[in-house]
């Protein structure tokens, strides 16, 4: 049977894109695990309250404001477009647009970190008081760490692009940075829904 198979055409190795995809999948699984722990513990807390054998109010009213988290969501979504803009620009050999788009992406990333810092100051739940607060800060902390890694990735690829490394024939590095960026940013809507909306 094997002799009937047609040999594949030789093609360019896309190692960086494959590696970044695997790393992004791993990172998403880490957040999936943390979110699952969050949801499970919250659900158990509700069962305890229903049974009248313990549990406590998850987040007291007015401790988490909607506005900062939602602004962060919009900022994160905007960065998806700027990152896609960068990939498309380098594919078209439009280096100036690619630099601008990557710079804007990093700026938006820095803005998200700034917003997280503001939001943490704004939360009315001290970190050392309860399990929900601990989960909240751990999720935000891990998100900021992952976002920091994504910003470093974009920065490295921008420096490489400035050095002339990427063009329309080979944009793998920038695509790899974009894949990791998209994965990190897509974590945020889940955190936003869990914490800002459902509280």
């Amino acid at each position: 049977m094997s002799e009937q198979l047609v040999a594949a055409e030789p093609q360019r190795n896309r190692t960086v894109v494959v590696g970044a995809s695997l790393a992004a999948a791993s990172m998403l699984m880490m957040f999936a695990g943390m979110v699952a722990v969050y949801v499970s513990i919250r659900q158990n807390n509700e069962h305890l309250i229903e049974k009248g054998v313990g549990g406590s109010v998850w987040f007291p009213d007015l401790t988490i404001q909607i506005a900062p988290g939602t602004m962060m969501l919009f900022t994160a979504m905007m960065s998806l477009f700027t990152m896609a803009w960068a990939v498309q620009a380098i594919r078209n050999d439009d280096r100036r647009n690619a630099y601008v788009a990557m710079g804007l992406t990093m700026l938006l990333g820095a803005a998200i970190i700034n917003q997280v810092a503001f939001a943490i100051g704004d939360f009315g739940v001290p970190v050392d008081r309860s399990t929900p607060a601990l989960l909240l800060y751990a999720l935000y902390g891990a998100f900021v760490a992952a976002l920091g890694m994504a910003i470093v990735g974009v920065l490295l690829m921008m420096l490489r692009a400035i050095a002339g490394q990427y063009d329309s024939r080979n944009s793998d590095g920038i695509q790899a940075a974009a894949i990791f960026w998209y994965a990190v940013i897509l974590v945020y809507p889940v955190i936003w829904y869990l914490i800002t909306i459902t509280k």
């Binding site: 594949a8 494959v18 891990a142």
Partner: protein, 533 residues
């Protein structure tokens, strides 16, 4: 050797990014770790044999620390790095690549793993660990958590290199269905590890966050730390670390029996399915009951139907793969009994045992193995069978690929001794623990054993732990013999089927002297042999 040449050799050993050198570093370091983990395991088992007064380790906290060290260390310091080391050498050769993908990342992963492992060991010496013991030092626990994260991150980085090599660096014509079995099994294993161990990282992040600068309130509570991370060292996840056992056997046995692997696609699929059913990140107590000890309604994870389903599926798949691979012995000629063939078959046999113990654990009619709130020592039995399978399989792999890995033949006598010792570890340790589970012994046994039968079986289990230390030392000796060998080897000493035997032994930088052509079958070298004959 001149001083300059000696310096160059040392530089090569320490600083080279060549995938073969990085793989050798992983192999030698993980074998040293195996001996260390086995010695600690021996102390732990001796303590378990007679817990009156904690005469061996002094107190219950130290006993629990050594228990957790052996469970986590056996996986993170031995099993994963051992297979990663073998894969870093052989996978690029098997798929006809000039190097591993991201060679500097692979080299960095080794040094990060080594430093992380050192900190991990030091943290246990400094009274750290995963709890759950009164008296555990908070800072040292923090160090354990941090170093565990460091070790996992480094191993995952190596997995990215291996998986990317298989996915992206295959030559023209080598479809995924034509990838050699060991490389295929490493692709499956790396994928499962890359998707499951980050979940453990998530657990570690939560514990880490709770241990910062004050008394822990939830995840960092010493009484709950182990229960949050133990899923990674129990079924079904524990079986994920043994996925390459199937690939090693499926590559060695057909060549040794001089036949083409029959039903290749089926065996390849079975390896993939085994990977899927060993994905265990979902099997956490936190997902079924939460971590609050006050919350007692809902099932323990071992009582969930899905858990039983995974155990049954793992046994069925392992059994089918066992049959599919060993069928080559029936169809072909009886192979020479070498450390490679015996190790590969022993690995398969022990893996099947591990899956069978998993099956026994979830059978509802075996009431003796279902005690409320307590894990019985059948958990340890399964762990020991898996570790023994990994060690036996690694012995087979090192014996088989030693011309590629070290440029010489592994010492057969020591290799066979190592296989025998690994089998002894599995059979003595695994069976003894399974029987003590029926006698009601808990996995973490901190009460004194009143039953004489249990004590005797625990002594047998201790002998098993001694055997795995012997296996580690014998394999180290066997591998060192290959490494120091100056004998000139033929490129293909076994009439191999796959591309690694088209490279010189030992392979030079770049691996292949001539370009690898278009691949038209899973066994290109066997095709050539058949054409010639």
């Amino acid at each position: 050797m001149t001083a300059a040449a000696s310096g160059d050799a040392l530089y090569e050993i320490i600083a080279s990014n060549d995938h073969k050198m990085v793989g050798r570093r992983f192999i030698f370091a993980s074998l040293l770790m195996l001996v260390g983990v086995a010695v600690v395991g021996l102390l732990s088992e001796l303590e378990r044999a007679s817990l009156d007064g904690f005469g061996v380790l002094g107190n219950v906290a130290t006993y629990i620390q050594t228990f957790a060290f052996v469970r986590a260390g056996g996986v993170l310091l031995v099993a994963m790095p051992l297979f990663i080391g073998i894969a870093l050498v052989t996978v690029p050769l098997q798929i006809g690549a000039q190097a591993v993908a991201f060679p500097r990342l692979a080299a960095a992963s080794f040094w990060t793993w080594l430093v992380g492992s050192g900190i991990f060991i030091a943290s246990f010496i400094a009274d750290g660990g995963f709890g759950p013991a009164a008296g555990t030092a908070n800072d040292a626990t923090l160090l354990t958590i941090t170093s565990t994260g460091m070790v996992i991150a480094s191993l995952l980085a190596a997995c990215v290199c291996i998986a990317t090599t298989v996915i992206a660096l295959r030559p023209a014509g080598m479809t995924l269905m034509r990838v050699p079995m060991f490389s295929w099994s490493m692709l499956v294993a790396s994928s499962v590890w890359l998707l499951s161990l980050p979940v453990l990282m998530g657990n570690l992040v939560l514990i880490f966050a709770d241990l910062q600068g004050r008394a822990p309130i939830a995840f960092g509570d010493p009484d709950t730390i182990w229960s949050q991370v133990e899923w990674a060292f129990q079924a079904p996840q524990i079986l994920a670390f043994a996925i390459p056992v199937l690939g090693v056997a499926a590559d060695i046995i057909p060549v040794a029996a001089k036949v083409r692997q029959g039903q290749r696609a089926v065996v390849q699929t079975l390896i993939g399915v085994f990977g899927a059913v060993s994905f265990g990140a979902w099997a956490q107590h936190a997902f079924s009951r939460g971590i609050d000890p006050a919350f007692t309604s809902g099932n323990l994870i071992y009582e969930e139907a899905l858990y039983a389903l995974f155990a049954i599926a793992a046994l069925a798949v392992a059994f089918a793969a066992f049959g599919g691979i060993l069928d080559n012995l029936r169809r072909g000629t009886m192979p020479k009994l070498s450390m490679a063939t015996v190790g590969a078959i022993a690995g398969l046999f022990l893996l099947l045992d591990a899956a069978a113990v998993g099956f026994v654990r979830v059978m509802p009619f075996l009431d003796a193995l279902h005690e409320d709130q307590v894990l019985l020592s059948s958990t340890g039995s399964q762990y020991k069978f898996v570790l023994a399978a990994i060690v036996a399989s690694a012995i087979g792999a090192i014996g088989w690929w030693s011309p590629n890995i070290f440029g010489g033949y592994a010492v057969e006598g020591l290799g066979l001794l190592a296989v025998l010792a690994a089998l002894g570890f599995g059979v003595l340790g695994g069976l003894a623990d399974l029987i003590t589970a029926f006698l009601g012994q808990a996995d973490i046994s901190i009460a004194s054993n009143v039953d004489d039968g249990v004590e005797a079986l625990n002594v047998i289990s201790s002998i098993g732990m001694l055997a795995v230390a012997v296996a580690g030392l014998a394999l180290l000796g066997s591998a060192m013999g290959a490494f120091r060998s100056t004998e000139t080897l033929p490129d293909d000493p076994w009439d191999g089927h796959t591309l690694e035997w088209a490279a010189p032994s030992p392979p030079p930088i770049g691996n292949f002297v001539e370009p690898v052509g278009v691949i038209e079958s899973p066994e290109p070298l066997l095709d050539q042999l058949e054409e010639v004959s």
